[in-house]
């Protein structure tokens, strides 16, 4: 599903965000990427989503080479992903339901199913009582759940959550991580970045990847 070989990313200002990282994530795995702020976690996510191109090494995501991906193929690849952004990126002035439906308007899902699928996803994240609330009127934890609902409603092959516990108290953070952990399925991998290692339930995690200063420090899988 994801293969990185000697993957490096250097920003135009010369900052080395990632340095020769090797990793492999299989379908249906639950993977945590940890490390302190500025260690390169978000840079890795950006590479996985095609927001940046590798400056060296090779990266393959869902059978697409991210080194040579063009705009059209990147768009198609993103349709197989369920991203939960660090800053959530919900659309203000729209209801919770509208925000969730927005995630599938351009996917090959029949219009007649949009509302049912969105309601089911919101039920899964325990927000079915707020479907007509406006995004800007929700708490951060609730917004986090809407973002997760928008990601899962697309039935993605890869769910990517960047620092989902960032602005939450301990109780809400555990709830969100439990919810994300439960999304792992046979054909759906879940990648979560966090610096809150103490909240990770290591019993259910398939891989724990630790990055520091752009370098892979430890991984529960073998390196290439």
């Amino acid at each position: 599903m994801i293969t990185a070989k000697k993957l490096s990313l250097q920003y135009p200002d010369g900052t080395n965000a990632l340095n020769e990282i090797n990793l492999r994530i299989k379908a249906g795995e639950l993977v945590y990427i940890t490390g302190p702020s500025g260690s390169g976690k978000t840079s890795l996510i950006k590479l996985l989503m095609g927001m940046e191109k590798p400056t060296a090494g090779r990266l393959e995501v869902l059978s697409h080479s991210m080194n040579r991906i063009d705009v059209k193929r990147r768009m198609l690849l993103r349709q197989y992903m369920g991203p939960v952004f660090q800053e959530l990126k919900l659309i203000n002035g729209r209801t919770v339901l509208d925000n969730v439906i927005l995630g599938m308007r351009f996917l090959p899902i029949p219009k007649q199913q949009w509302k049912t699928l969105a309601t089911d996803a919101l039920e899964k994240v325990k927000l079915s009582h707020k479907i007509f609330s406006y995004a800007e009127n929700l708490s951060w934890g609730e917004k986090q759940r809407v973002a997760i609902a928008r990601a899962i409603v697309r039935k993605p092959s890869l769910i990517i959550a960047d620092e989902p516990t960032g602005n939450l108290d301990r109780k809400n953070a555990i709830n969100i991580l439990e919810l994300l952990n439960s999304l792992k399925q046979e054909d759906t991998s879940v990648i979560i970045t966090t610096h809150a290692t103490h909240l990770i339930d290591s019993d259910i995690v398939d891989q724990l990847i630790q990055i520091e200063a752009g370098q892979l420090q430890a991984s529960s899988m073998e390196e290439f």
Partner: protein, 298 residues
């Protein structure tokens, strides 16, 4: 295509959200577009009127032949008959003094009272010769050669002047189409760029979710189209009103001006303005999106 039809409601909702975003700026843009289209349709309308005048006058090319004093009515009829033999003459008939007076009374209408101040009929008898437009010069020369002919009047000068005015209006019309088109393109392109800038976060989110470019761009294209089409509609309504007013003003004092049918004139200018507004709305929006694409990775 399926994604477009399934999301029609969404696209229109997004379009009106975009238009509401910068209300004042959009209202001012709409006013500018309306004004530009209105001026353009007026120029085009006058151009169409002058073209019609030239056409009508060309079809009705005629010369009037006046005779030397002392020639009797009988010889007028004979001469009118003989003119028919000249190549290029289509018809020839004598207009008596009484008929000439009657014609002037019809032309002057309510103002014909002024003719009662003359003690005698001021008009003289003449021969009216309908001529093939291309051969006016040759016919005029042949007729003038007749010894009893004092003076031949044609409408060549008037026709030339109208033709010059028509050419000037065609030039101005083209200039106006270019000027109004450029101004509208700049306005719409700017509005779209502004909309994209204000919505850059939403655009970015959609792109990260894998939305195709058409899905992200369509509401912006529609908002540009709505602005120009509304401007075009307002301008067409204003033109209809103005042309109606102009025709009413012209009908009484100068009824002999050959104007094209009012409804046809309005219809032609409306089709032109609406066609242009659709074209400029689409082009301006696409220009705005393309120039923003470089900055917003749209």
């Amino acid at each position: 295509m399926k994604a477009i039809t399934a999301n029609l409601g969404y696209f229109f909702k997004e379009t009106f959200t975009l238009l509401k975003l910068n209300k004042l700026s959009n209202i001012l843009s709409l006013l500018s577009i309306t004004l530009a289209f209105f001026l353009l349709s007026l120029v085009v309308a006058t151009w169409l009127i002058s073209t019609e005048m030239v056409d009508v006058l060309q079809q009705e090319a005629e010369i009037n032949v006046f005779f030397s004093e002392g020639t009797g009515n009988t010889s007028h009829y004979e001469m009118a008959e003989s003119f028919l033999e000249i190549q290029g003459v289509q018809a020839s008939r004598v207009v008596t003094e009484a008929e000439a007076l009657e014609r002037m009374e019809t032309i002057l209408g309510e103002e014909s009272e002024v003719l009662t101040y003359f003690d005698e009929n001021p008009f003289e008898s003449f021969v009216e010769v309908k001529v093939d437009f291309e051969q006016v010069g040759a016919v005029k020369e042949s007729v003038s050669a007749h010894e009893d002919v004092r003076y031949v009047r044609d409408h060549q000068e008037v026709l030339d002047q109208i033709r010059n005015i028509s050419a000037l209006q065609r030039f101005l019309g083209t200039l106006f189409i270019v000027a109004a088109g450029t101004a509208t393109l700049v306005i719409i392109s700017h509005i779209i760029r502004q909309g994209i800038y204000h919505n850059r976060q939403q655009i970015n989110t959609l792109l990260l979710l894998g939305a195709p470019n058409f899905f992200v761009s369509l509401p912006f294209v529609l908002s540009g189209l709505v602005l120009t089409l509304t401007g075009g509609l307002f301008a067409s309504l204003l033109t209809r009103f103005t042309v109606g007013l102009g025709y009413a003003q012209l009908a009484t004092p100068i009824p002999f001006i050959p104007l094209p049918p009012q409804e046809l004139l309005v219809q032609n200018t409306t089709v032109l303005v609406l066609g242009l507004s659709i074209f400029l709305g689409l082009s301006g929006s696409i220009m705005g999106i393309r120039s923003s694409r470089k900055e917003e990775s749209l």
